[in-house]
Amino acid sequence: MITSIAWKNIWRNKTRSLIVIIAVTIGVFAGIFSMAAINSSVVQRIDAAVNDELSHIQVNNKDFRSSADIQNTISDYTGVVGALQSTQGVTKATGRIIIRGIASTATKSSGVEITGIDVEKEKEIFTLSEKIIPGTGSFFETETKYNTVFIGEKLAKELNIIRYILTPGAIASLREERIPEDILTKIETLLGQRFTSDKKFVKAYEKILETNEIQKYGWKIKEAAWSYREGSKIILSFLDINNNQTGAAFRVSGIFRTNNDMFESFSLFVPIDELRQLTGMKEGTFHRVIARLENNDITNNITPVIREKLPDYEVLNWKEIQPDLAMITDFIDQIYAVFMVLILAALAFGIVNTMLMAVLERTRELGMLMAIGMNRRKIFLMIMLESIFLSIVGGFAGMAVSEIVIAITGRTGINLVKYSEGMEAMGYSAHLFPAIDAQFFVTTTILIVLTGIIAAIYPARKALRLNPIEAIRTE
């Protein structure tokens, strides 16, 4: 009964209630949607870290990480792999050789981490082989008598392997993308010129095009002019097992693209046998064994189990290797809570004002209700419920809107091209696909109800303090 009275009461002054409800709707929507966007970038970052860069568990020789010495190998490889694979929750495990070195071409050089991999097993563990840029080759599939290497796009750019050339084909493909003809005529002056870095290319077309044209079509033009000659060579030099400088020319087998510039420019992959030959490392020796788990959530439980089985080695999970990832996963809920509480606190002011108004304007009516025997507890409850209804109607509307918008943008994605450079340098994708756990909606609902209750305390107390006799007499 009280519930339905409270519900009817809030619709007695429709405009006033609607203003509060709309405010709550907007606040809740803005809160949830921005969190979904942030959350998605974190989820994408963790997926990339686990699927392409680190895997879930790494087992190293105890001294390997503190001193990346080529001699610090895992003494009992089969034993380690056996121990990992017999652990519940571990799906796959494989060994790697890791060497620091320098990669160079005729014009440039860069410090790199050379990882020797078992190509077939690696494909089962990592999705990196799928991150290859179409048209740049393959993940070690072509037979060749040369040494081969799989490198990141960023490194390829740094080494001037990737260049920017506007070919007639590139112009044609831009035409297919419906780039206006006048822009195409303008950039045709660059036809056939060779640019060794994307910045030089950008500078060249910046001289020709207007600012708004660059903003609209710049990245498409860049994408079209992107060019790479298959089978380019790089020189890798490093120390061999006797600490002697050694090295060899490697054919680029393929180029991968991730959202992590650091990883792209620092990590490169070579079939393990080629690296063994060059360094003189014996068959069956590895620096690191990586293992994949069934999913990310069991990481914390499984790590100690493996650590106990392999006391002679250093066992680390992805959270320990990259503490910033662990920090972000742990903090994201708190950031969300702080932001949501801030928004709801701002909303509370509006609700307090509205409810106060509703009480003061109904002084006479409330006095009458008390006079005819409605007890104070019920009055209190009624005001509380009105406030809760206001916030919850707005809250549900806000959640519904966010759910719809998240569903749409989650499919199409939000592309923050302008910030991609900065974000990718930190390992985050600038192409966001907002997504959020159902859990967030539960938390939000609880917070909204709490806001309604807290905002009603002052007006409800005001109502309780009314003296029925005086209240009835007020105009």
Binding site: N13, T15, R16, I19, V20, I22, A23, I26, G27, A30, G31, S34, I38, S67, A68, D69, I70, R100, G101, I102, S104, A106, T107, K108, S109, S110, G111, V112, N160, T196, S197, K199, K200, K203, F238, L239, N243, Q245, P323, D324, M327, F339, L342, I343, A345, A346, L347, F349, G350, N353, T354, L356, M357, E361, L416, Y419, E421, G422, M423, A425
Partner: protein
């Protein structure tokens, strides 16, 4: 009675509503200011760290060097040009550098490094490097010795967390180990005894010697007196390799640079890279480094230098960082926009209620001869007062936080500080002193109030007096 007196009195007829509405504005302004102040302060600090230890405010470079940092894009130092640049009223001095990439190795450890060939005395004048040299280091040996000495238990516990940490100032050391000013007289001598680090920056004569970042020295396990080998590519594709003794270890506040930096006398660098008389850049130090000063000086100097030379400002030199900060800045601004939007609805709701409640009063006033224009003015003033009350309170409440935070920046201690450093940030959160961002809050509140005023004025002018009186 004057309009404003009338408005002011009206406000206090319903004290509660006035206060709640002003409080909601206060809440938004206060949070927006404190949040912005921290955010902008953090950017400012990060930029300063990288500018004052590495990039400088202005640099002279070869036009292609920045996009393609290759020693082949170096230039011959032209003393006439340098002198001409020095004549600019805002320029203090110009210091040439020869910078390149190399692989640094010590024993069996190797790491990619930035080799920065510098004029030791000039660089010290510009970047104040000698003050950044490591003065204390909590090496495992030092930590053990300190633990066996007389120190408070809390400090001993913190020693474990900050094991291997290096300090270039006592202030930072005291903060990390949570040593208060009163205790410092008793504790610091003990720490000095065990953890002092003998160390010096390069001198003009230091041929064959290098100073490396603390992060790099940790990585290479190379201490004072150890030898490091630098291998890279020299001028026009020659092979560059050389052996150098570590003379000193520096602790730069920007961890990204601290982990890779090798300082080497420029003459030695020229030998290493087979680039006699060349430089890849020259840092220009300025008297005044406000944003306007920098861009004006930059423009003036640009006129002096000719192709292939170019003047780069710190924003261009740190374009990536500027881009990252912009992305972060945008997200902060969205948060504040949401906050204000919610507050705006609260204010509109209040205005709507007030208009409805006082309909009869308005009708009465107009019928006894008050001009609608005057009534609207009084109402507008009421709303402006509420807005200003909120803004003034918000600004006043934020000032203590902002000023305190500026002079005593919030510092993370213990494990959290360590984590922050590992993540590549300095574990400190300074605020930014009042600046244009304060004005922006006032502008935003004024816009909200303006909308409310438009609404109420329209209402007044459309009011039917007879109907209103009957309400």
């Amino acid at each position: 009675m004057k309009d404003y007196q009338l408005a002011w009195k009206n406000l206090w007829r319903n004290r509660r509503r006035t206060l709640i509405t002003a409080a909601s504005v206060f809440f938004a302004v206060f949070f927006a200011l404190v949040m912005r102040s921290f955010q902008l302060g953090a950017y400012d600090r990060m930029f300063k760290n990288v500018i004052e230890s590495y990039s400088g405010y202005l640099q002279l470079q070869h036009v292609d060097y920045f996009d393609d940092p290759n020693i082949d894009y170096s230039f011959e130092i032209d003393n006439a040009l340098i002198d001409q640049i020095k004549e600019d009223p805002n320029v203090i001095t110009v210091v040439p550098r020869l910078e390149s990439f190399a692989l640094a190795a010590s024993g069996s450890h190797t790491q990619g490094a930035i080799v920065l060939g510098i004029d030791p005395r000039g660089e010290d004048k510009v970047m104040n490097v000698s003050n950044k040299m490591v003065k204390y280091k909590l090496t495992p040996v030092a930590v053990e010795a300190l633990k066996n000495d007389t120190l408070p238990d809390r400090t001993k516990k913190l020693l474990d967390i900050f094991r291997n940490e290096a300090y270039s100032s006592e202030v930072r050391l005291m903060l990390d180990l949570s040593i208060s000013d009163e205790d410092s007289a008793a504790i610091l001598p003990v720490i000095r005894k065990h953890a002092s680090f003998r160390n010096a920056f390069l001198e003009g004569t230091s041929a064959g010697e290098v100073v490396i970042g603390d992060g790099l020295s940790e990585y290479l396990k190379a201490g004072i007196g150890d030898t490091i080998v630098l291998m890279g590519q020299g001028y026009h594709g020659t092979t560059a390799a050389g052996k150098y003794a570590v003379k000193g270890i520096i602790k730069l506040p920007a961890p990204d640079i601290d982990n890779v930096i090798v300082y080497i006398p420029i003459e030695t660098a020229r030998e290493l890279y087979a680039a006699p008389g060349m430089a890849t850049s020259a840092v220009i130090s300025l008297n005044r480094n406000g944003d306007d000063d920098i861009s004006q000086t930059g423009k003036r100097l640009q006129k002096i230098v000719s192709e292939p030379m170019i003047i780069k400002t710190w924003q261009e030199l740190n374009a990536l960082m500027v881009n990252q900060m912009e992305a972060d800045n945008r997200s902060g601004m969205i948060m504040i926009a949401v906050l204000y939007m919610v507050i705006a609805f609260g204010v509109f709701g209040t205005v709507l209620m007030m208009m409805a409640e006082r309909r009869r009063e308005f009708g009465m006033l107009v019928s006894i001869g008050m001009k609608k224009k005057k009534l609207a003015t009084v109402l507008s003033l009421e709303m402006l007062f509420i807005g200003f009350l909120g803004v003034a309170a918000g600004v006043a409440a934020s000032l203590p936080f902002v000023f305190y935070g500026y002079y005593h920046p919030l510092r993370f201690t213990g494990e959290f500080a360590r984590m922050y450093e590992d993540y590549g940030f300095e574990p400190v959160m300074p605020t930014m002193l009042p600046d244009t961002f304060y004005l922006w809050q006032i502008v935003v509140v004024l816009i909200i109030i303006a909308i409310a005023i438009i609404f109420s004025t329209r209402k007044i002018f459309r009011m039917n007096v007879i109907n209103a009186m009957r309400a």
